[in-house]
Structures are given as structure tokens and as C-alpha cells.
Amino acid sequence: MVVRSGDDAGAPGALTPQNTGMGQKQNTSAPIAASASIADAELVRACRTGDMVAWRSLYDRYAPLIHRFTAALGVPAEEREDAAQDIFIAVFRSLRHFRGEAQLSTWIYRIAARHAIRLGRRRRMRETMRVVMLKERPQPEIDPSERSTRLATLDRLLAKLAPKKRTVLVLFEVEGLSAKEISDVVGCPENTVWSRLHHARAEMIRAARRMVS
């Protein structure tokens, strides 16, 4: 027999497996039409109670995004695992401060962008020191799992952009975020986002033309 009780029958959908994640464009065939924000809110609530399965779900949902985003922001392959680890630990530690005003994904992008930019700054410093102190030219980093020349070319072109422009271009062109969402991630007005995007695109095209010619 089915016993129905309680007054909370209209509560949002189950945490798993029906939850929908951001950046999961292929998940549109989800059987339950719970919005991403509801699912993320449920997930955050469960994570805050210390539920390790919820943590794992959050990790599974966002790990591919973190990998893709940090790669596009220039974190080399050999540093990407450590970067992902640091980002997730930062997310887990500060989730209790997440107020839910922005989307969870926006908040995670913000943490990841800050970390990737910090790593980039350190890397540039190390390379400069190496050149100055040892007169050594830094070796180009080649990820053996990314043999595609086109991807390597894109990374070289992206590396020519200033970090702020690169972040905006990656968030818009690779991650598919709107200008409003990007302004939430990087903490600047929407007009600035459009301006950075315009300049980043123009610089990328100029650099690509030089490379081809």
C-alpha cells in the first residue's frame, strides 16, 4: 500500500538523480523539469549538512567545468590537478558563506578565475626569474593529451591577452556565459565586459592573422 503523509508533497525534486547542473547542456532530457537553481540550492543545502554524497555530486557536476575553464585560462596540464584540488577545497571551505544571491556556477567561476589568475601571475614571475637569473628561456608547455595543433594554437593566442581580457573572452566564447553573468563573475559593469570582449576579439584576430601569414 502507499501511505501518503506530510504536507510537504510539493517540495522540490530529489537531490539525485534528477538534479540539473549548470554547464551540462546535454542534460536537457532530464525527466524532471527542476530548474538548475533549485537543484543547486538543494545541493548546497545538503553539502552544508556535511553530506559527503552531496559533496561528491557537486564535485562531479563542476569538475569538468573547472578543468575546461582553468585550461582555457592558461593553467598548464601539469598544474591543473593541483589547481582543481585547491579550487574545490576553497569551494568546500567557503560554501557556508555562499548566500545564494548569484548562481552557484557564477560563484565557482569567480573562485576558479581568481585562482587561475593568481597561478598565472606566479608562473610569469617564475619564468621572469628564470630568464633573469639563469638566462634560460622557458620551454613551451606541451600537454601530450592535447595533441591538437588547433587547440595549442588557440592557447598560444590566448596567452597573448591580458588576464582580464582573457577571462572575459573565455567566459563568453568557451563557457557560454552572458555578459550579465560575466559581470557577476569578474565584478565589473556589463559595459566593461562588452568593452573587454570587443578588444580581446580584435587582438585575437590580429594575432591569428599574423600567425597565419
Binding site: 502507499v2 501511505v3 593529451s145 568557451v174
Partner: protein, 405 residues
């Protein structure tokens, strides 16, 4: 319309192609699992004093509010709505695969539980002689045996309260997991078939297809098809001693267990292991400061435990032994030990490749060839297959050269 959707030049095409590739650069499963192993047991910072005060203040305010609400609501308490009892619909069509020798009531009732009914406190229950097939959402089906009950917990996950249920979960989209709880355990799957038994004293899981993870708190064990596991329903009353999480024999050689003779694997029922994540950090620090022996000691101790960090430590111990202590033979033995202990471990592929690489570096061509061929057979779809195949060809050439000399 996307930027450079219709590229006008080679440069623009180069950019568009690169951006499309970058959008699909999401990393491989092994990498994600390896990072999770590090993240899972990472020690979290203690709550700040400010937050503790805030929590205490909020709790006091909540208690005060509840007290006021209680006083106001007291006169109306007698009129609360009692739970309604609705009989399960009678099955209208016989189960196609039902054995003819089974009693007539073996035909399971078909119960589709609406999303709104998957709420805490709702129960699907079968009586003696009744069976039911329950659609749990997300394509998951539970075939409930007689005298069983499924309810939903506060996170709207199905929970087998007592009795027995066979669950069939279709493959979930990337990043999604199906979870079902039983007592203090959470069973999570990506797509699989398994049986869950809950009696008054224990919880049992038998996996028919796919891979299942059984969690309690932050600790978990991984079961593959053919594995069975059981743990006490009330772990604090248990005297079960810690045991290896995974049988040492390969899956195909493992005995298929029955409910009458489940092995006491029960790693989750064991006493809490020491926090091994700290050990991994200490081992890293020791390696950085050139104290490889001390790192190996720390890792060996950490590998004694259970869970993802212990598994990571077992793998790392072999790596330190090879690269920092310079003992490749011993490293191969340690990686071999790792894969015997964790035959479906998250670093299994890495261990296999490390063995192939180390043996070929040692010049043990025959053993390296055997390992490389075994790798190709075991991981026919691995992204590293091409790399290993090329190594096999080189090793064969070396072997042929040494034979002709």
C-alpha cells in the same frame, strides 16, 4: 549567432576551431577521480568564532520563535491532518517474466510514484505475500520483495527502511548520480543493477551490473558486478573488525556470494581510520625536503586505512619508491600490491601504466611486453592505448633484436 560562425579567412577559422575544441576540453575521468581522492578527505578549516556566535544567536532566536509559535498554535493542534492511507493499485497485467510456479500474488503491483510524492515521510510498503514494482524517477525501478518498505529522506532520496529491493538504475548523464539510502549508508550509482537488503540488524548490497559505491559519512567502498557487501544497521553496536575493502582476487575469480554467506567486508563499519589526508600532505612535504624514506613510512602507514585517501597513499608509496628512493623493482611490487588490493581502483590505469613504464625502463622486455599486452586487453578503449601500442612495437623490436644476436 556565435562569433566567427562563418569564418572569412584562415585566421578566423583557426580561432573558431580552437574555441570549439576548448569548449570540449573537460578532462578525463581518471583525472577527476584522482582529484576527488585528494579533495575528499581534505581537512576543512574550523568555523570562525564569528560564525559560531552567529549560529548560537540564530539558534536562540529560532528557539524563541518556535516557543511563540507553539503557544499560538496550541489551541489548533487537535485539528491537524492525519496521514491518509491509499491502497496500492491492483496490477492489471501479469508480469511477462513471472515464473508459472510462483504464487498468484507474486505478480508485482505497478506503482508509479509522482515527484510530489517523493517527500519525507511518504512510504511505499508491501505486506506479506505482496510484491511491488516502484518507479523512483530518473528511470530507476525498485522491485520490492514482500514485507518491505521504501520511504524518502529529507533530501528526497529513496530509502529502503526494511525488507529487500532490487534496483535497476539506467545510466545517468555525466555528473549525475542516483542515490538510495539504507540505515546509515548511502549507495550511489551512475547506472547499474543491484539488490539492497535491510533487516533489523544489517544492510546488504549485491551488485549484478555496473559499479556501486556504498558511503557512510566520508568513507566509502566501491563494489563491482559480482561483489556483495554487508554492514551493520547500527554500526556503533558492531564488533566487526576492519577488513580489506576489496577482495584481492580479480573480479572474475571472486566467489559470487549469497545472502547466506556474505563476506564480512564491511570497511565502513570499522572504527574511523586516522585522517590520512594529513599524512599525504606530510609525505609530500617530506619528499619536497628530500626525506624520501620518511615520506615512504608515512605513506605506508596511510595506506593501511580505507577510503580514497588510503588508496591514493598506496599508489603514491610506489611512486615515491621508484622516483625518490630509486628502487624500481620494489615500486613494481608495490603497484602490483595496489592493483591487487584495489582491482577497480581509481588509479588502476595509472598503476598498470606505471608498471609497464618501469619494467621497460629496467630493460625487462618480456615482463614489460606481457604487462603492456595485458593493459591493451584490459583497457581496449583507453586514450593511452595508442601510446602503449607503440611501446609494444618497440619492445617487440628490441626482443627480436636480442633473439637474433
Amino acid at each position: 549567432m556565435r562569433w566567427l560562425e562563418n569564418p572569412q579567412s584562415r585566421a578566423e577559422k583557426l580561432l573558431r576551431d580552437g574555441l570549439d575544441l576548448a569548449a570540449n576540453r573537460t578532462g578525463d575521468e581518471i583525472t577527476h577521480r584522482r582529484v576527488w581522492a585528494q579533495v575528499a578527505d581534505a581537512p576543512l578549516e574550523p568555523e570562525s568564532r564569528f560564525s559560531t556566535r552567529l549560529v548560537l544567536a540564530s539558534a536562540s532566536a529560532a528557539v524563541a520563535l518556535l516557543a511563540v509559535a507553539g503557544v499560538i498554535a496550541y489551541p489548533y493542534l487537535g485539528s491537524h491532518r492525519a496521514p491518509t492511507v491509499v491502497a496500492a493499485p491492483k496490477a492489471t497485467a501479469p508480469e511477462p517474466k513471472a515464473a508459472s510456479s510462483e504464487p498468484p500474488n507474486a505478480v508485482p503491483n505497478q506503482i508509479a510514484v509522482e515527484e510530489s510524492e517523493r517527500a519525507p515521510g511518504n512510504v511505499v510498503r508491501t505486506r506479506k505475500g505482496e510484491r511491488a514494482r516502484v518507479a523512483l524517477g530518473g528511470g530507476a525501478i525498485a522491485d520490492m520483495e514482500e514485507d518491505s518498505a521504501i520511504t524518502w529522506d529529507s533530501q528526497h532520496r529513496p530509502s529502503v527502511e526494511h525488507g529487500s529491493a532490487r534496483l535497476s538504475v539506467p545510466h545517468q548523464p555525466p555528473g549525475w548520480r542516483f542515490s538510495v539510502t539504507a540505515g546509515p549508508y548511502v549507495v550511489t550509482v551512475v547506472g547499474t543493477k543491484f539488490k539492497l537488503d535491510v533487516d533489523g540488524r544489517s544492510v546488504g548490497v549485491e551488485v549484478t551490473e555496473g559499479v556501486v559505491e556504498v558511503w557512510r559519512g566520508s568513507r566509502s567502498t566501491r563494489l563491482v558486478a559480482g561483489d556483495a557487501w554487508h554492514g551493520p544497521l547500527h554500526p556503533e553496536e558492531s564488533t566487526v573488525q576492519p577488513a580489506a575493502a576489496t577482495p584481492s582476487a580479480p573480479p572474475s575469480e571472486r566467489p559470487r556470494t549469497t545472502t547466506a554467506g556474505l563476506p564480512s567486508v564491511a570497511p565502513l563499519a570499522a572504527k574511523a581510520a586516522p585522517p590520512v589526508s594529513r599524512s599525504l600532505q606530510e609525505a609530500n612535504a617530506a619528499v619536497q625536503s628530500g626525506e624520501a624514506n620518511r615520506a615512504a613510512e608515512i605513506l605506508a602507514r596511510a595506506a593501511q586505512g580505507n577510503g580514497p585517501a588510503a588508496e591514493n597513499a598506496a599508489y603514491e608509496l610506489a611512486r615515491v619508491t621508484r622516483y625518490n628512493l630509486g628502487r624500481p623493482r620494489q615500486a613494481v611490487a608495490l603497484w602490483d600490491k595496489y592493483r591487487n588490493r584495489f582491482p577497480s581502483g581509481v588509479l588502476r590505469t595509472e598503476a598498470d601504466l606505471s608498471i609497464v613504464d618501469t619494467l621497460s625502463q629496467l630493460g625487462d622486455v618480456r615482463a614489460a611486453l606481457a604487462e603492456a599486452n595485458a593493459f591493451i586487453a584490459r583497457h581496449p578503449n583507453s586514450e593511452r592505448r595508442g601510446e602503449v601500442q607503440r611501446l609494444v612495437e618497440r619492445l617487440r623490436a628490441v626482443e627480436a633484436g636480442s633473439d637474433t644476436r
